[in-house]
């Protein structure tokens, strides 16, 4: 077990390095001069530009820039954002909570709704509720989140101004973005939960329990639902990644601060160090979430632990 954990952690580190190298290369393939981007169309005479290029270390070779970056990274220094003129770590600290809040709220909503729809559909298999639930799941999977977000704004922030248009981190600001983000993943969750509940119902001990004359509800709660914990965990593992990438669009639509928007802005303005750091962090979160989920499996299912 210990060597497994160590191996996985090593894989995550390797992955992070791979991604950092890839991103470093890709960024430098993007056309455009970051120094010009900083100055925009204001007052850029050639002397100012060259001076700035030197000051930012952008006149050095690519390899030496990468080595410098890696060296700083080992010292826990993410570097300095050219575009926002402050340490990248500060930018991340300022934007991360909003993304975390959004992702956690959306994850919670998404799992809960998925669970509700999935269980109802499974229990009423092949009946109207099932068809309806699965139809809903499919529709939710299909509707683009950026459009859904716009509709929600139109309905619940403009026509009936219940929530804020600008997605702040207050309650009224987070509801619509979280709902938008969650609904896109509910469909998948509902289908997944439905099929796991269905397969749990056909397992031997469930059939035995039913044969023993236990009530449907008891059987469901004691056996079926408990066995559904694993699929929920799986769903969480899968959705962390989906939700993280979904925040890019949702944060843009709702003008919310967050890592996704920070990253998009940084890519578009060639803010190298910011992009590199955010990408690294997202990749680590992504890999880390799956790692934690994998670690949780044996806790929930002793059969896996024994293997």
């Amino acid at each position: 077990m210990l060597s497994y954990v160590a191996g996985r952690l090593a894989a995550i580190v390797a992955l992070a390095f791979g991604i950092s190298g890839l991103v470093f290369l890709m960024l430098r393939l993007i056309p455009g001069d970051p120094v010009m981007a900083l100055l925009g169309t204001q007052a850029a005479n050639p002397e100012v530009v060259e001076r700035l290029r030197r000051q930012l270390g952008l006149d050095e070779s690519m390899a030496s820039q990468y080595v410098t970056w890696l060296g700083n990274l080992f010292r826990g220094d993410f570097g300095y954002s050219y575009g926002q003129q402050r340490p990248v770590s500060e930018l991340i600290a300022a934007n991360f909570p909003a993304t975390l809040q959004l992702t956690v709220c959306a994850l919670f909503l998404s799992v809960l709704l998925g669970l509700a729809i999935g269980i109802v559909a499974a229990l009423k298999r092949n009946r109207a509720a099932d068809t309806l639930g699965m139809g809903l799941a499919l529709a939710l999977m299909s509707i683009p989140s950026f459009w859904l977000g716009l509709l929600l704004i139109l309905l619940f922030a403009v026509t009936w101004p219940i929530f804020d248009v600008v997605g702040g981190t207050g309650f009224k600001g987070v509801v619509l973005p979280a709902v938008t983000l969650a609904l896109g993943t509910v469909g998948f969750n509902a289908r997944f939960i439905r099929s796991s509940v269905l397969s749990a119902q056909t397992q031997k001990h469930v059939i035995t329990a039913r044969a023993k004359g236990l009530s449907r509800a008891t059987v469901f709660l004691r056996h079926v639902l408990r066995n559904s914990l694993l699929p929920i965990l799986t769903v969480v593992g899968i959705q962390v990644g989906n939700l993280l990438s979904g925040t890019v669009v949702v944060e843009t639509v709702f003008s919310r601060p967050g890592l996704g928007r920070l990253l998009v802005d940084a890519i578009l303005s060639k803010d190298y160090l910011t992009v590199q750091a955010v990408v690294l962090i997202i990749a680590v979160i992504y890999a880390g979430a799956n790692f934690v989920v994998d670690l949780c499996y044996p806790l929930l299912d002793p059969r896996i632990a024994r293997r």
Binding site: G18, L22, L29, P144, F146, L268, V279
Partner: protein
Amino acid sequence: MAIAETLPADDSGLAAKTPLTVSVLRAFRHRSLAAGTLICVVLAALVICAPLLTGFDPAKQSAMETFQAPSLAHPMGTDAFGRDMMARVLYGGRVTMLASLAVVVMGAIAGTILGLVAGYAGGAAGFAIMRLVDLLLAFPGILLALAITAILGPGLVNGIIAISIILVPVYARLVEGATREIRSLPFVDAAIVLGAGPIRVMATHILPNVMSSVIVMTTTWLGVAALWITALGFIGLGVQPPQPEWGAILNDGQMFLTLAWWMTVFPGVFLSLFIIGVNLMGDGLRDVLDPTIAD
């Protein structure tokens, strides 16, 4: 989206005894397949027949007719440049639909080839390919697409390339796994003993056996591809004005959400319907082609 772990498909679904027409008819008894196909066919017919349905040029600007609400002359209203929204939605559908299709086809071809090579060759080459695949998969797709379009520059073709690159690792992983599995089956050994070289084995034995998984995967990912290509258009990195495309039209409309709802509602409804249709079709095809994962 989850990647359905599909095994090298069992052949029972495609029994050769039944003539093609019979199996097609049987397939359409599947409700969601029928419904999805109907939606897609109707939408396709609408966008193909766009010139018959509207006389307007989707790019024609008219300073006198900006922001007109839906009317008889303009059933879906006009946009900020006085362009007819119906023409834009219908012509835009052509772009969105073809682009989505192009994305999955390109992604599938490239991913399948990579997966075949990695799975069959194994060793250092296979290892290298698969670690690259892991790397790409460990990163949220839409961000990767953003970065790639930033490198290539905005535009429809670049957008299609960017999103098919995201699909490549998905296919590569599926095909690599399936290839490794099939590679170890005796009929492959038999072919080798009969004198078949690697390319022949891949082409005649492995590819046909992974094809049904690839097709199932493609139907599942077509909807996702449509979501992504329109998201790219929505961010402004897809097609360039004045060419219409559903995502780009939605981007045009979002600034005027409260003043001109028709600019957001109509293209959105069409786009959602298209993706629903594609997903229904995908579900149906998966059930029909790959009975192993039906519940």
